[in-house]
């Protein structure tokens, strides 16, 4: 079964979605049909992306049934949602959180139970018009999480979603919609996994996060799809007045994993800390497009994307800092650092500044691409540390700056383990 209107209708019915949501899916599908696969030669935003070998017809829009997500234990979390493909999600949430008005449930369920909230926010950040893949995501998103944290509510333990791929040959398109009320404070984690590291899949894994006035939100995305996954994902953060975002995105999987991260610093005094980490081996390719959009005055953003590549792995980083006319007194920093661990690994980095208001405090950017520093290697080796150990320590040290920002212990552990296994 290819991507079709009937597939959209079938999926919507399967989730028992209300009419308005089915209508939105169908509108997105119309956009999908009307758009061509991006032209990587002519479309600025898609330059350097290698789409050779991508055959959208090769993927089933969903598989049914596709079994349950594995249920490992997660400790010290406030809530979990686990979903495999389009199957019903398994949710658990501390009763105390529900009592305080926290809503944490599958997106389709929220569309029925809280239509006013979902309708108002869904796909207003990640718009289906953006490109063919975003439209496909809007039409056939396989499920996802809805999280609403009311005004003034602080949650100490992280809330975690785990999305598993549906099996070889299927699309898996999860979507998280997160709303942090005024003065709320919490951490939310999206984890994307494949049961089999070799299975072929088409994936997204997108998130829209809205921070209302004074909200302080941590967002972590940990992507370890199979190494035969095509990923087209979007993260969009909308920041209200004096809100603060701490986002960490980790990309470990994918054959070609594209991720767009956009922070819209709308509210005066809002600030965003955006960290990214990637590690590629074999023939993996990563593609990151970031936007730090300073709309309101006195907004601050700090971005750091760091990655290490070995074998023939590649990465493209294109980062835009935009200071809009109203954004006086803003401050931004952008850095992309790439470590090449083999001769054939390749990283390109392109910063783009669009400054429309010169009354800014600071706007800095920097990019580096290079091998492990031979002076560092010599230093460690001169202390008797064997070359492979020294190299592994230096890679971990290099990535540590971002790893140290993952405040959720389970996620940190998972990443450390995978890196340790793959760096050697």
């Amino acid at each position: 079964m290819a991507f079709s209107r009937s597939a959209v209708e079938e999926l919507s019915a399967l989730h028992g979605e209300p009419d308005w949501l089915r209508a939105r899916r169908l509108t997105s599908f119309g956009i999908y049909e009307g758009l061509a696969v991006p032209d990587t030669k002519r479309q600025e935003d898609w330059r350097q992306v290698d789409l050779k070998g991508l055959d959208l017809e090769a993927y089933a829009p969903f598989q049914q049934p596709n079994g349950r997500a594995p249920l490992g234990t997660l400790e010290n979390v406030g809530a979990t949602l686990r979903q495999r493909g389009t199957s019903p999600a398994v949710v658990s949430i501390a009763p105390e959180l529900t009592q305080r008005g926290v809503i944490f449930m599958p997106l389709a369920e929220a569309a029925r139970a809280h239509p006013e909230l979902v309708q108002r926010y869904l796909f207003t950040g990640v718009k289906p018009e953006q490109d063919k893949f975003a439209a496909l995501h809007g039409a056939l998103f396989s499920g996802g999480t809805f999280l609403y944290v009311p005004d003034g509510v602080t949650i100490d333990e992280p809330l975690v979603s785990q999305f598993w791929s549906a099996g070889s040959g299927a699309a898996v398109l999860p979507h998280s919609l997160v709303i942090g009320g005024k003065g709320s404070r919490f951490q939310y984690v999206d984890e994307f996994l494949s049961g089999d590291r070799q299975e072929a899949a088409l994936a997204s894994g997108s998130a829209e996060v809205f921070l209302e006035e004074g909200a302080n939100v941590g967002y972590v995305a940990l992507q370890h799809w199979s190494i035969k996954t095509w990923q087209f994902a979007n993260q969009r953060f909308q920041l209200g007045r004096d809100s603060h975002l701490n986002a960490v995105t980790i990309a470990l999987g994918g054959q070609m994993a594209r991720l767009r991260v956009e922070a819209i610093l709308q509210g005066p005094g809002s600030s965003a800390d955006l960290k990214g980490l990637f590690f590629g081996t074999g023939d993996q390719a990563f593609d990151f497009r970031t936007l730090q959009d300073h709309v309101g005055p006195h907004t601050t953003s700090d971005l750091l994307f760091k990655g290490a590549l070995r074998d023939r792995a590649k990465s493209v980083y294109v980062g835009v800092v935009r200071v809009e006319p109203e954004a006086r007194g803003s401050s931004s920093n952008q850095a992309n650092r790439n470590l090449l661990l083999s001769e054939k690994a390749k990283a390109t980095s392109e910063p783009i500044l669009e400054i429309l208001n010169n009354d800014i405090l600071r706007c800095s950017h920097g990019a580096t691409v290079g091998p492990v520093d031979p002076e560092h290697l010599f230093y460690l080796e001169s202390r008797g540390i064997p070359h492979p150990v020294a190299e592994r320590m230096l890679v971990q040290g290099f990535l540590g700056e971002v790893l140290d920002r993952i405040t959720v212990p389970q996620v940190r552990e998972a990443v450390d383990q995978e890196l340790a296994a793959r760096i050697d």
């Binding site: 520093d373 031979p374 002076e375 560092h376 010599f378 230093y379 460690l380 080796e381 001169s382 202390r383 008797g384 540390i385 064997p386 070359h387 150990v389 020294a390 320590m393 230096l394 971990q396 040290g397 290099f398 990535l399 540590g400 700056e401």
Partner: protein, 263 residues
């Protein structure tokens, strides 16, 4: 034959010959000072002995424990018992001093990540560091900081000597360990080195100035000029240099900026 023997060593850097046939014998239990003006090849000597990849050996041998160590990787030289305290220790972000020291100690003990009984345990590690750190006036916060990151000049040099103290080399090369240090730091560093002196350690102190030699008394002094040893003698040679400088061999500005020396 001496315990550590440099024989007619010639070395080039970026195609230029810097060391032009240097020979030196160091026995364990001895402290040798290698002195020389800027650009004489002092740092080339120290880096070549430790196996830095930028220094190309043209000819010569360095014999230690029955091996020509010039054929060995830096890690193998370290395992054999050599140590180099760098003039400019590098900042290594993301690796804590504690992790760095523990990994180095474990490497020396032959721990390869498998046989846990070879690895140093937390208690031993603590005990090993406690004494040395107090001599060097270093507090515990050093251990959780990244290697040399944000360290002052004096802290970097003390951290080098701390590494030497826990790795217990048999041949230690101290490259301009006194440069950039205030007098207190020189004392702390010298105390730590003097504690380690003994029949199991041979030391090569490389320095431009005689100042440090008032605290670490050498048994022998060698003057290196333009890639060759031009004079050797006992500790009195240092006093002579203190008075005369290197003017016999080179024209020198009164205050030579040490940082300009070829690395």
């Amino acid at each position: 034959m001496a315990d550590f023997e440099i024989k007619d060593l010639r070395v080039s850097v970026e195609g230029r010959e810097i060391l032009k046939g240097v020979s030196l014998s160091v026995n364990k239990g001895e402290v040798h000072a290698v002195m020389g003006p800027n650009g004489s090849g002092k740092s080339t000597l120290s880096h070549t002995l430790m196996g830095h990849p930028n220094y190309k050996v043209i000819s010569g041998q360095v014999l230690f424990k029955g091996k020509n160590i010039l054929a060995l990787q830096p890690e193998e030289r370290a395992k054999l018992g050599m140590f180099l305290a760098l003039q400019y220790p590098v900042v290594v972000p993301g690796i804590t001093m504690s992790n760095f020291l523990r990994t180095a100690i474990n490497a020396k003990r032959g721990y390869d990540g498998k046989d846990k009984s070879k690895a140093i345990n937390v208690k031993e590690f603590r005990a090993l560091l406690r004494d040395e750190m107090s001599v060097l006036r270093m507090d515990d916060s050093f251990l959780s900081r990244y290697v040399n990151e944000g360290f002052s000049g004096g802290e970097k040099k003390r951290a080098e000597i701390l590494q030497m103290a826990v790795l217990k080399p048999e041949i230690a090369i101290l490259d301009e360990t006194d440069s950039g240090l205030d007098i207190d730091s020189i004392k702390f560093v010298s105390d730590a080195v003097n504690r380690m002196r003994g029949p199991e350690l041979g030391v090569l102190i490389i320095t431009h100035y005689t100042r440090v030699l008032k605290f670490i008394k050498p048994d022998y002094v060698h003057v290196l000029v333009n890639g060759e040893f031009v004079r050797s003698g006992g500790p009195e040679l240092a006093d002579w240099l203190e008075a005369k400088g290197y003017s016999e061999w080179v024209k020198e500005p009164a205050k030579a900026p040490a940082a300009l020396e070829a690395k």
